[in-house]
Amino acid sequence: MKLHEYQAKEIFAKYGLPVTPGAVVKHLSEVDAALKQFPQGPWVVKAQIHAGGRGKAGGVKFAKTEQEVHEKAAAILGMTLVSPQTGPEGKLVKKIFITPAVDYVKELYVSVVLDRVNRTPIILASAEGGTEIEELAVTKPDAIFKIIVDPIEGLHSYQARQLHLRLGLPPEAINQGAKVFQTMVKVFMDLDLSMLEVNPLVVLKDGTIHCLDAKVDFEDNGLARHKDYAAWRDPDEEDARELLAAEHGLSYISLDGYVGCLVNGAGLAMATADAIQHFGGSPANFLDVGGSASQKAVTQAFKIILSDTRVKAILVNIFGGIAKCDVIAQGIIDAAKEVGLSLPLVVRLEGTNVEKGKELLAQSSLKYTFASSMDEAAKAVVAAAKGGKS
């Protein structure tokens, strides 16, 4: 789960990390109140969306006067920001953050992420701040420091001091800087995050270290332990169908195409979308109904797929393991009836009791094409979606 900058800064402040407070504004009528709360200018007006690259996309503006704050707020609120992280369709800005501007002399990059290879959290840091780390990883990989964090003890003080000096930060601020790095790791571990990023981390004129930005992603499994933060989820930033699916225990991801997929298991669901693409089609979604593929889950999945008007044909690909194919076939028949399915349907069943499942489908009034392999299924559904014979 991603958080907005203003939410991340609230967490940072709670842990004593140096951040500048600000006000969240959802409507232009709230700008005056924000200025009253933070009367000392100049200010920065920042778009609050769940994507990086806001500055270059025009979502972060400097304002010298109160009048300018109003102007910039009007310009940013309601705009559609397109950055490399938003995708070509961009993201509508529904909230802005108004915060006093901070004078600084140097920008750096610091993040804490999970490293699969070391199986620990690691710190990625660079003295070359301001740019995206992905870009830096390509152009100047040597400029990125990587510190392996002890997953039980956290970042040791000596590691934090070493990092401070390696980044070329002022030696007189070594203890303050080290504390900042250690606290970042503490936040990451305490809250079971998947990522904590400060880009840029800056050096102020007085030589102290300050977090100018804050980005926090909760790790979805860890969120179960942090129910109070789970309530911070911003539905505006998420796909409505994805949220609905999650409520029903389904894993659904919206894609750009027109072939609906209903599959049991994440790996097979991914592979099914791949197969559709391989045979010249375009998947409308990734949908995992869970390994057991219960009738309830299948019904809900059909409803979600059908709510997407781009879908022209549906492929059901179930490998019955523990779940039996006859039970699943009955589930498909009942679910299709309940939702009044009229789109072309291709069914591929394999596994336990597959013959019984086939029989049930054949005896029902359901209109469908049966496929006996993944290749056959993908080819058939692509043909059906393109209006050919299925």
């Binding site: 992280q85 620990t120 997953p151 979805d220 332990r225 991914m270 393991g321 523990i322």
Partner: protein, 319 residues
């Protein structure tokens, strides 16, 4: 023979009195696995469906001589269950539980370094099966067939798909390992590859990976240098957009890293035959075996191969 799981396995289930734990304990027993009992704190001394229940792993090991544990404990308590198994003397821990916080797994992996002879498979995995011998997990046993193809995969049903394609070709599997779909797992592709490379009865390997992370690339680098056996592969997620988590917590392309294209290139550079779509995993396996067979003929390794074939024939006769 096989890797990790053989006839000597005595298996307990942690969380045996839960619905899933009990259902799959019975499934494993029905398959022929030597299931010797289970653990549920507070229910020690009772019996469920013929399985003796213990309060702790330590007790279960003392009474039954168990050396393998299958874990079905709920997500927020599973890390503790893994550590209990390791401390209790279990050598192979198979954690089926889904949804364990990644930071818990980071801690677990650090502590498990104190137990160099303990192997953890998973979490969030279907388990491990040596067809015809034993299964510790939730996979449907009947789709498997004893044979000589090793399979390692992050996923459940996609592994079944690969297994099924192999079985349909008339080949069978030595051992199938589901390593799990989480970002931090106990056993990675590279470790599974090493085990299959050393296993006398594995002749070829299918490696199924997915987008996200760089474990497949690491395995590819190792395979290129060390692997003696043919390897076929498939990478799921070529149709996945960046930044979206495709079901598995680990399956996400972030910052332009971990894309399917990148992984496929690394695997092919390591000499693996990569299936272009999931329906062709079996075909890729045949191609990989043919390719390696040809190159083997060109080398003096031919003699060894003949010897091996003879040995195998002898074994068959014995049976």
């Amino acid at each position: 023979m096989s890797v990790l799981l053989d006839k000597k396995a005595k298996v307990i289930c942690q969380g045996i009195t839960g619905t899933a734990g009990l259902f799959h304990s019975k499934g494993c027993r029905d398959y022929g696995t030597n299931m010797v009992g289970g653990v549920t704190p507070g229910k020690g001394g009772t019996t469920i469906e013929g399985f003796p229940v213990f309060d702790t792993v330590e007790q279960a090991v003392a009474k039954t001589g168990a050396n393998v544990s299958m874990i079905f404990v709920p997500a927020l308590f599973a890390a503790d269950a893994i550590l209990e198994a390791a401390a209790g003397g279990i050598k192979l821990i198979v954690c089926i539980t889904e949804g364990i916080p990644a930071n818990d797994m980071a801690k677990v992996n650090k502590i498990l370094k104190n137990y160099p002879d303990v192997r953890l498979i998973g979490p969030n995995c279907p388990g491990i099966i040596t067809p015809g011998v034993a299964k510790v997990g939730i996979m449907p046993g009947y789709i498997h067939k004893p044979g000589k193809i090793g399979i390692v995969s992050r996923s459940g049903t996609l592994t079944y798909e690969a297994v099924w394609q192999v079985t349909q070709l008339g080949l069978g599997q030595s051992t199938c390992i589901g390593i799990g779909g989480d970002p931090i797992v106990g056993t990675t592709h590279i470790e599974a590859m090493k085990m299959f490379n050393d296993d006398k009865n594995t002749e070829a390997v299918i490696m199924i990976g997915e987008i996200g992370g760089s474990n497949e690339e690491e395995a590819a680098a190792w395979v290129k240098k060390n692997m003696k056996k043919p390897v076929a592969a498939f990478i799921a997620g070529s149709s996945a957009p960046p930044g979206k988590r495709m079901g598995h917590a680990g399956a996400i392309v972030s910052g332009g890293k971990g894309t399917a294209a990148e992984k496929i290139a690394a695997l092919e550079a390591a000499g693996m035959v990569v299936a272009k779509n999931p329906g062709e995993i079996g075909k890729a396996l045949l191609e990989a075996m043919k390719k390696k067979g040809k190159s083997a003929k060109a080398k003096p390794a031919k003699k060894d191969k003949k010897k091996k074939d003879k040995k195998d024939k002898k074994k068959k006769k014995k049976k």
